[in-house]
Amino acid sequence: MADDKLQIAIYWGAACGGCDVSILDTDAFILEIDKAADIRLWPIATDGKYKDIEALADGELDVAIMSGAVRNSENERMAHLLRQKSKVFVAYGSCAYMGGIPSLANLVPREEIIKRAYLSNASLEPGNTTVPRPRTSLNGYDLELPEFYPRVYKLDQVVDVDYYVPGCPPQPGQAQIAITALVQALTGQAEAPPKGSVVGAYERALCDDCKRTKAEEKKVKRFYRPWEIMQDPEVCLMEQGILCAGSATRSGCGVRCPDSGIPCRGCYGPAPGVVDQGAKLLSAVASIIDSKVAEDIDEILLTLPDFTSFANRYSVAASPLQRSHRR
């Protein structure tokens, strides 16, 4: 393969593949990537194997783009391997950036996960007691499975990350902008964004791009879940008492959810400079509760159960309460 081409790897950890699809969704742009780069690993689309990556010299890859969170030892091993082999390591998508929806598992007692999956499941083989084990010896063959970690980690809790591309998945147009920026930086056509930058997104919260009208008065006596009412498609969802994460979420997705009658759930992560998206959403929601009496406030809050999975829908692993020392 020609030396002047960038060497890149695209990989997924604990992921759904949506990030890979978002790259495919850049359509013709893929052909440009192909012109500019050799894709040395991309399990969903190419035949590169782990051993091919292991064989590379350190830093031989110009860019490694990893989507997905770290759930098991294989995810972690690959994260370290790709970090070691690459000059620039990109955490791509909400899972890599903040833990994503898989990190909702961190809110669940681990024992219950086991019971649920193997001992209390409507379609299990009657009387089943078998559970997968890290090591199984079967008629003389030793079979190994990766070890599953106590919780889900975002990538930078495990390896050093240079850039983040937010989104679940990143909106293809934004992915294209982000990848182009990286390619230009790596080929010296443009200055590289500062390490740790969030690329492929804007510098303001979603409301900036949301077409819904916003009034001064935002006070609600009760909240409504999306199924409970027919909403007014022209008016700010929060003003209608429907929880929307837009005000605390970085813009860049194209406001596709609120534009289609579905409240934002925050997949693009916190606004620039914000430590925890959940904490900010907490303040925002509290700000519109129309009561000064503790009891009434509790009453009103009954109409928004399970606040946590709203506040940190994509960012449980990124919560300050999820401190990690894996690195």
Partner: protein, 144 residues
Amino acid sequence: MTFEPKIVGFLCNWCSYTGADLAGTSRIHYAPNVRIIRVMCSARIDPTFVLKALHDGADGVLICGCHPGDCHYSEGNYKMMRRYPLLKSLLADYGIEDERVRLEWVSASEGQRFADIVNDMTERVRALGPSPVKAALEADLAER
């Protein structure tokens, strides 16, 4: 040796911080476990402060503001009052025990009350042991 909890206290300047000062001028002794951070109003207390404190190793967080109706900024403490139950539900989902984070109204004249709260909370948090945030950290270290 017994576990000595570290508790971070966020106090509003006008009532609670003054109340804590009054405990001092009245020489009312209490447990040394609370480290006080002054804010102008309990409404300034971004829930991020509480999460950050727990992240940085606090075993408990005490939030104090003026009594409802007595806020120097007339309504600031109501803003905190509205955040609090949401904050508690968030913390509970992350496994932070109820007694680790506490909101109390302390007026400028309630030095004794402030001291009593600090003593009571220190006891309860001591009984709970180190914060789960630290424990999860230990687990990670053990995994390495």
